[in-house]
Symmetry: C2
Subunit: 299 residues, 2 copies
């Protein structure tokens, strides 16, 4: 039994792990550049080390299933830029990143506002390594994404270079998006004028000062602008965006892969559902945040 | 109006931003080492730049409210170690990190399995900078946390140094915890024998092979072991852990701060709720994963 197990382990990398390779092959076929290379190490369900011919058969089977179930959504070539700036809220970005980076063929860029590719510390200290600087990021984006924060977000809104980059990329982007107070950055760039949008509850009403229409929604869509509410809304946002990019079946597959069937162990998460003592304490504590964002609006 | 706004902005860092300083002061008072320093820049709700005396009054008011609402849960000195290893799933860790790093006074360590503090690439490429190496991490932990993954997790389970470190820290930890297939790492270390635990749905049943009792639950608690299901279950897990560490009111505050009131835009996230074509495709794709984890069990 044990040696059989070891054989299984040695003989495969797992269909799930091979999936990106399969998708790449599919993409190559679709674009007419298939070089005929077999995908890496698909699995033989019987456990023995599969031969090259067996591998080819299994790869073809997986491919056919994926093509049948996911349709044209199986492959894509989206260019996705996620902005990383000092003291951003890491979860605002990493939630959506998980789902978007699982889109076969899509390319996700972590674009730093800083002068080199050194890791950028988030508001809670956790530092993430960017992949590209603003100047080197793709000019034409399918998705421009901005995460939120408090102090760091206010700083970015005051930076001429970053705001110019956002305006430029947004002018050609297929989707202009944010989670949490990232929408304040979009608003400051003049991208939300007359648009329905959301933000973290503590800042949302400040959107008005920038000419936007604040909406108390978890994910708000208006034209090519898609905004998510505070922090954990990034998950809901990402599923909604994935569905726009790749269709319902792909979004369902992502939901299952990320086991996104949330069950908060206690009630709350909104002002309306939080017990009054905690709600009042938090509302008082966060009240200055809205004022701070308001102060960034055009006079 | 505009100049008033600018004054507000200049005059304050915001109560929310000052909260850590307030908590630190509370902690100092509690431990009898208060040096009497005023917290940094609390807010004056009337918008003028507050004097030092006004700052002191406001800080005291905030402190009193927090102490009244949060009780002894307001402060703590937990040592929390989150393991970071090549090809871990970033969201498994960053979800819980958001909530745990918001516990005033707690210290969160990102412990790398590697030989230096270089950023560690996750399975989807996003790299996170660790803060400490295994040898230098605190010996006595309140929380030991292990995130999941596939290929990377299997590799860690085969590493003698990492498994020895986990066994050692777990032997004294107040809570031994995981999200997703991180529970496989705990299982491999012999920490789940006879314990009820969960994991990502694709791997969960493999827990049996390590002597654990697989439970189809979002968050599963058994003694000092707390495990979360796949990826996004890290949010539910973290709220449950925060409540254990700091009580209900603190957990409610975290829920509201992270706006954790999830609304997945489409139905799914479990095998039972995913439409059959997508469910069957994913189940087939992930089937080898369970076998791979099984192959790591003692013979």
């Amino acid at each position: 039994m044990e040696s059989n197990r070891r054989n299984i382990l040695r003989g495969m990398a797992g269909a799930a792990l091979a999936a990106p390779a399969l998708a790449q092959q599919a993409l190559a076929q679709a674009s007419g550049t298939n070089n005929g290379a077999a995908p890496t190490a698909p699995v033989n369900p019987n456990g023995a080390n599969p031969s090259a011919a067996e591998q080819k058969v299994m790869a073809d089977q997986h491919m056919q299933t994926m093509q049948r179930v996911l349709g044209p959504g199986l492959w894509g070539q989206e260019q996705i830029a996620m902005l990383v700036y000092p003291k951003f809220t890491a979860l605002d970005l990493v939630g959506p990143h998980y789902f978007l980076a699982c889109l076969f063929g899509a390319k996700v860029h972590l674009v730093t506002t800083e002068k080199d590719l050194a890791p950028v510390a988030s508001d809670l200290g956790l530092a993430i390594q960017p992949t590209v600087m603003m100047a080197d990021a793709p000019k034409d984006l399918d998705v421009l994404f901005v995460p939120g924060g408090t102090e760091g977000t206010l700083s970015v809104m005051a930076r001429v270079d970053t705001m110019a980059w956002i305006k430029d990329r947004a002018s050609r982007a297929r989707y202009v998006t944010s989670v949490c107070t990232g929408s304040m950055v979009l608003a400051k760039a003049g991208l939300l004028k007359g648009k329905r949008a959301t933000s973290h509850w503590a800042a949302r009403e400040a959107l008005k000062d920038f000419g936007a229409i604040p909406v108390d929604g978890r994910v708000v869509s208006d034209g090519n602008v898609l905004t998510g509410a505070g922090v954990t809304a990034g998950m809901d946002f990402a599923i909604a965006l994935a569905e726009k990019l790749r269709g319902r079946a792909y979004a369902e597959a992502l939901l299952l892969q990320g086991e996104y069937a949330p069950e908060p162990p206690i009630r709350g998460g909104t002002l309306a559902t939080t017990p009054p003592p905690v709600r009042d304490m938090m509302a008082a504590m966060f009240a200055p945040i809205e004022e701070q964002f308001r102060a960034m609006a055009p006079g």
